[in-house]
């Protein structure tokens, strides 16, 4: 069974991200695979291990984005593809989705494409659903368990964690699945995995190879700025006993008129 997992390279979640002279920088903080995508890779690998087949990791980005692919390879992905094209300099979630959809179609016979919930740089959380729509495949989001995946019958059954509870949904394959954090703990790359990944030749596909021209990006970011600084003066509340501290703290909070 052919499985795809879409991953993105992002600044580490602990990075101090600021705007300096109009550009976004994160100093020397490392770039890493988007943390949500590690769950997607883990889910894809578990399915491959259960059912056989291969997991192809794909990303759209610059040369540096190969590092995210290498992480997926080190975890155990079978192969990886970088989609990179100078004409994609301007992109929005939908143009990314259209390119990912074209790549998935080019791979052919893909049964499931796994995505992370959200990329922690743009915090969009829409690319999976847009890719599903572009492909015309059913979208299964917030998936916390894969109950069954049956390529022969052409069905997938998943549990979704929604705001109001848990939903079990069955869909026809092929399908797009985006996973949450509760699905499985991502494995650490093994020593062998890291070795294999570091030697891997990762092919680069251009848009021409996908048979498309750069989709136009209609969403633009004319300005990115540092948020207004919040002046918090921290007042430490003390007292002679826990009772007194508690009493003082309660008074102060009531005085803020937020209750």
């Amino acid at each position: 069974m052919k499985i795809v997992v879409c991953v993105k390279q992002v600044p580490d979640s602990a990075a101090k991200v600021v705007v300096e002279n109009g550009t976004v920088t994160w100093g020397d903080a490392p770039l890493v695979i988007n943390p949500w995508d590690e769950y997607a890779v883990e889910t894809a690998l578990l399915q491959k291990e259960a059912l056989g087949g291969e997991v192809t990791a794909i990303t759209l980005g610059g040369e540096g984005a190969k590092e995210a692919l290498k992480h997926a390879l080190a975890m155990g992905a079978s192969d990886a593809i970088l989609i990179s094209d100078p004409t994609m300099s301007e992109s929005d979630s939908q143009s990314v989705a259209r390119v990912l959809a074209a790549a998935i179609q080019k791979l052919g016979d893909v049964k499931v494409a796994f995505f992370g919930r959200q990329a922690i740089d743009g915090d969009m959380g829409v690319t999976a659903a847009q890719t599903a729509r572009a492909l015309g495949w059913p979208m299964l989001s917030l998936v916390s368990v894969i109950n069954s995946l049956d390529p022969a019958a052409g069905t997938i059954r998943v549990g979704r964690a929604t705001e109001e509870g848990r939903q079990v949904v069955e869909a026809k394959l092929p399908a797009v699945v985006s996973v949450g954090k509760d699905i499985a703990e991502p494995r650490y790359p093994s020593f062998m995995g890291i070795r294999k990944a570091s030697r891997a030749e990762i092919p680069t596909w251009s848009l021409a190879e996908l048979g498309i021209s750069a989709p136009s990006a209609v969403v633009k970011w004319p300005e990115v700025m540092n948020p207004p600084t919040r002046e918090v003066v921290t007042e430490l509340v003390s007292g002679g006993s826990p009772q007194e501290i508690a009493e003082n703290l309660a008074e102060k909070i009531l005085a803020e008129k937020v209750l």
């Binding site: 829409v126 964690a161 509760d182 970011w221 921290t234 003390s238 309660a250 803020e256």
Partner: protein, 346 residues
């Protein structure tokens, strides 16, 4: 003439999610600038009641659909219907509340309508017919202005970022029923089973959140029942700690949150996690108990109005963002604190 601004009202079992009305108020102010009125869309079983309510919250026209194919939320038939209605009306702007359904439907209808999506915005304005959105990026470390050059301009509004309108009983109207677009045979997914978790206050909408972290398990004075191994004893301790946290939340009519460390250690289910890989919240009052305040936790709560920290360690980063702090043991402070507030709030 059709209205230029459309808004999707997210509802569950005949009750609108509160953020839907915030979206509607955002839609109203867009309409004031773009001209024309606001059309609200309500989809699902028992949606007629919500449709009626939408007039009171400010809609000029309300369309609702309760076809059997729309009984369970499924993105395909919902998207198909929304896209058709919005396209027929040639709407200029389309808003959704940032719920999981709202975000997904916004994303997918943007594809159908060949436009773009600006998810989870915290402010909207209009300049020369162009909607300008503001949205947090990099977990709120930065803010970005965003525009969509195609029509309709699609955005989802973050919970508690826009004013919650008061219902106006003098406003009323008759909602128009519309038909589903997809037949059952054209829908490639079905909902097999649904269990709703019993109520409680939803974290996103809560005005008050009391959260516990790894520190809630730290009370050596408690003696766990015999026969528990070390891990079980830790979880048992944490449950005693979370009892104190939830007692306080109850007195304040708030919700219980948690740090990832507390969730990962099995103290409390993931639904409660606040932070970058949990929920992003913005209550009026956020009380962090036994939470150090790691940057990924801050990502989920930094815009809270008043932050209170109770932590043993005076160096904990959470104190840097707190309005009030108590350096002390949460086990000692929480019971009298809850009691004091219970009395004062009557």
């Amino acid at each position: 003439m059709s209205n230029k601004v459309f808004v999707y009202i997210d509802q569950f079992k005949g009750a609108a999610l509160p953020v839907s009305w915030e979206s509607l108020s955002a839609a109203r102010s867009l309409a004031e600038n773009l001209g024309g009125g606001v059309t609200a869309l309500v989809i699902g079983p028992q949606s007629q009641g919500v449709a009626n309510e939408a007039f009171q919250y400010g809609a000029d026209e309300v369309l609702y659909a309760d076809d059997a194919t729309l009984a369970d939320y499924r993105p395909e038939p919902y998207t198909a219907l929304i896209s058709k209605l919005v396209k027929d009306a040639a709407a200029e702007a389309l808003l959704f509340p940032t719920t999981s359904r709202g975000r997904e439907l916004a994303a997918m209808s943007a594809v159908d309508l060949e436009s773009g999506v600006m998810p989870d915005v915290t402010a909207l304005s209009v300049e020369g017919g162009q909607v300008i959105a503001t949205r947090p990026v990099y977990a709120g470390k930065l803010l970005s202005r965003v525009v969509c050059s195609a029509k309709p301009q699609i955005a989802t509004t973050r919970t508690r970022a826009f004013p919650a309108p008061q219902p106006d009983a003098s406003r009323s109207g008759t909602p128009t029923k519309v038909d589903a677009v997809l037949a059952e045979a054209d829908i490639s997914s079905k909902v097999v089973e649904y269990t709703t978790s019993d109520g409680g206050v939803s974290l996103a909408d809560a005005a008050v959140i009391v959260s516990g972290g790894r520190g809630v398990s730290n009370n050596p004075a408690l003696t766990p029942p015999a026969g528990l191994d070390e891990k079980q004893a830790e979880v048992w301790r944490a449950q005693q700690g979370f009892k104190l946290v939830s007692d306080l939340a109850t007195v304040l009519g708030g919700a219980v949150g948690a740090s990832r460390a507390a969730v990962d250690a099995g103290y409390i289910p993931y639904e409660h996690q606040v932070g970058q890989t949990g929920k992003v919240v913005s209550p009026d009052l956020y009380i962090a108990c036994g939470i150090s305040g790691a940057i990924q936790h801050q990502a989920g709560m930094r815009t809270s109005k008043v932050i209170v920290a109770i932590n043993k360690d005076p160096e904990a980063p959470i104190f840097k963002m707190a309005r009030f702090g108590v350096v002390g043991d949460l086990y000692a402070i929480l019971p009298p604190f809850t009691e004091a507030l219970r009395k004062k709030l009557g």
